[in-house]
Subunit: 149 residues, 2 copies
Amino acid sequence: MGILMPMATPGADPLTIEVVELIGAVVARYHEEYEEAAAQHALTGVQARVLSLLSLEPLPMRRVAERLKCEPSNITGIVDRLEARGLVERRPSPDDRRVKLAGATEEGRATVCRLRTSLDFAREPLGELSTEERTALRDLLRRMLGTRD
Amino acid sequence: MGILMPMATPGADPLTIEVVELIGAVVARYHEEYEEAAAQHALTGVQARVLSLLSLEPLPMRRVAERLKCEPSNITGIVDRLEARGLVERRPSPDDRRVKLAGATEEGRATVCRLRTSLDFAREPLGELSTEERTALRDLLRRMLGTRD
DNA sequence: TATTGTTATACTCTATAACTATA
DNA sequence: TATAGTTATAGAGTATAACAATA
């Protein structure tokens, strides 16, 4: 665990540097908490990610790879391991017999629910902020990410 | 690549949910850009992280493991690979002959400099924000993270 | 005895390339 | 021929357990 990086930015003003460092801290915390929550259910971070994705709706393997930004060949093994534990099922697509749709089972969806409960990143640190502050944070993050709205 | 997670938070209000999603987007972007910048220098994310760490000051292997929040046995291989490329050196500690200090070489530090230049996460999206907005963002992130200051 | 770094082992994730079955 | 999923392979990161050297 732990793939994060504290990298000062040369040429930037101290304020920008501090903001970048704070974002790094948020990223680190987000990851740690996610991996921990996943581990509590004997899942890796990637497995938890795929399971959450498939709990919303069944997806062709290829789509899962796109979402994860990895090669399709990798999805085979990840879904294999989830399927072996009864959390995910593969079924052929009615439209195209080449396609397999992967979807969460009942138990898979239940696991995702418990996973969400473990993941207190949302409630805990954000709990410090008032509604006005959350709104301000939302607007700043939107602008940072170039979200049009 | 890609270990990130879009997880709605049940029970939370829409504003909180959106903020969590935005943070998820920032985390995803941060990771992608970091991995990309590392790959441009034929480094993995973890290697770039360790190299940056050691470019500041030499550290005992054990300390590197603590910073990365992983088992010390893993650091051996990571430093081996960096050392094989001449980016890092091991030398015995003068204080304790059990300890090995890992430090970046001249070339290692040069690589870290180039890495930083590639990593435009700081300048680009933050460039959208005025000084006042950056200050506001800094204060909100500080409060979120419980930074005392 | 305890600690530091290493080795050995096994598992997961990753990219690449080749294969199969469909289209 | 093109596409979806798989298999095979190799490399990297990870945790666990056992080991040598040193404290």
